[in-house]
């Protein structure tokens, strides 16, 4: 009797731990994003959520539009919960050209660039790997620049981020340190 009770208790604990580790937690993703936002505000970015959030499993991709304006520095960040193992972000211009991406392994992703045009960016959030479903939350930061005619149209992504249009050294959006 005692043995059965203990087995039942142990199984409950294990099941609970297993469920906890794979359930998506959008609130946690939002909290992560909020902490990321605070960090970028210290760098002068006006940060705001994009109204883009949800849950996604391994291999799924979400496409969304984000308006951008010429001469502004932008940072696009993806916060996730602990179920995420690897999330990536890709940014295309409105004629389908890749601006830059962040494909580094990790459960947060981010890119930073200076928009060379007015219009809309097409962004893909790709959940490359997750344990079950993972919550995700996208934030956008924008910052005015004194010299819009600067010769640095894209100020690169994070170290390791791919920036085909950039010839400048990568700046550090450091998206993985909430």
């Amino acid at each position: 009797m005692k043995s059965s009770f203990l087995k039942l208790a142990v199984c409950s604990v294990l099941a609970s731990a297993a469920c906890h580790s794979v359930l998506a937690d959008p609130a946690e993703a939002e909290d992560t994003a909020y902490r990321m936002a605070k960090k970028y505000m210290d760098k002068g970015f006006a940060m705001a959520p994009t109204d883009h959030s949800g849950v996604a499993g391994s291999g799924s991709a979400i496409e969304f539009l984000i308006p951008v304006n010429k001469g502004l520095d932008y940072t696009f960040l993806v916060g996730t919960d602990k179920a995420a193992r690897d999330v990536d972000i890709y940014v295309y211009d409105d004629v389908g050209g890749l601006i830059l991406d962040d494909r580094r392994p990790g459960r947060l992703a981010g890119v930073q660039f200076r928009s060379p045009y007015n219009g809309t960016a097409k962004v893909y959030m790709v959940m490359a790997n997750a344990v079950g479903l993972s919550g995700w939350y996208v934030l956008v930061g924008r910052r005015g620049t004194i010299r819009p005619d600067s010769t640095v149209p894209y100020s690169g992504g994070a170290p390791g981020a791919n920036s085909p249009a950039s010839s400048s050294p990568a700046t550090n959006p450091d998206p993985v340190g909430p």
Binding site: Y34, G44, A61, E63, P67, L72, D101, G144
Partner: protein, 295 residues
């Protein structure tokens, strides 16, 4: 197996139970390590193939809530830091809305889009009084759309930060407030209302920007109005609303207005919008917003 002393001294435990406890112990240890932490990988992973949108399928998200904030910031940047009195633009363009004057949900949604755009211009003008006025109107309109205390809890933070002059925090909290409100509108029964908010939000933002450009025309800066992709998608969404929504007296001007606006904002990346077209865009946006608010 070497068991921790706390377990091995319990002589009453049967071996199977002991194994179960060790399993729990190691499970707990494993669970305590954050899943997201980057573990050292003994062997380098093969390079990850890039996502190719032309081959892979992606879920298309809903349209975003447009913000005039970026356009105002871009105008300031193009003006090379010359201070611009956005408060004066706000005084001319912003429209106060009484939530009680909205007879139905579409009317409240249309008005909410207008006030969200006004609120962002109030943030840019760093005017506490204007912002508090917008925040109150946004709260009242959101309640009309079904928002409760949970969705509106950030309104207090918006005001607190404004009173402290922490405008980047105001912008952030206002953004989260909008996102919380939009969550209600993501419910299937409210999706049409969401589209209406976006449409009037864009139109009211266009009113602020075109008013400024009309008064301070500069061909180089006029390109901030360029937005073919977003307006094109928005136009499709509004034209695709159910007939009963499009027949609403406050909605009926929107589909045509967006169709007429689209060619004016569909310009090249280096093209300017003529002064005449800025005025035309302003007239279209004025008419659409006035109709949406039944003014």
């Amino acid at each position: 197996m070497n068991m921790p002393a706390v377990f091995s001294n319990h002589n009453v435990m049967q071996p199977s139970i002991r194994h179960l406890f060790s399993l729990v112990f190691f499970s707990a240890v494993a669970a305590s390590s954050p899943l997201g932490a980057q573990q050292p990988d003994p062997s380098p992973a093969p390079p990850k193939p890039a996502f190719d949108p032309s081959k892979a399928k992606a879920e298309v998200a809903r349209l975003p809530l447009p913000s005039p904030y970026d356009k105002l910031l871009a105008i300031e940047t193009a003006a090379r830091g010359r201070p611009i009195k956005w408060g004066k633009v706000y005084d001319v363009v912003a429209i106060d809305v009484d939530a009680n004057s909205c007879p139905d949900k579409p009317a409240a949604a249309l008005a909410l889009g207008v006030k969200i755009a006004d609120g962002l211009v109030a943030v840019k003008s760093q005017d506490i009084e204007k912002l508090n006025s917008c925040a109150t109107q946004i709260e009242n309109l959101a309640k009309k759309l079904g928002a409760g205390q949970e969705e509106l809890k950030r309104a207090r933070l918006v005001r607190e930060n404004a009173n402290k002059g922490k405008w980047l925090d105001v912008f952030l909290e206002l953004g989260f407030l909008q996102a919380d409100i939009m969550k209600i509108l993501n419910r299937p029964e409210n999706l049409d209302m969401r589209k209406l908010i976006i449409a009037t939000g864009w139109m009211q933002g266009a009113r602020h920007v075109t008013y400024y450009l009309k008064e301070n025309y500069n061909p180089e800066i006029s390109n901030v109005l360029r937005e073919p992709m977003l307006v094109g998608e928005l136009s499709k969404e509004i034209s695709g609303l159910p007939q009963e929504v499009r027949d609403n007296p406050r909605v009926k001007a929107l589909p045509e207005a967006l169709k007429n606006v689209l060619p004016l904002v569909s310009i090249g990346k280096d093209e300017s919008v003529s002064k005449e077209n800025v005025a035309k865009l302003k007239s279209l946006a004025d008419a659409a917003v006035n109709s949406a608010l039944d003014h």
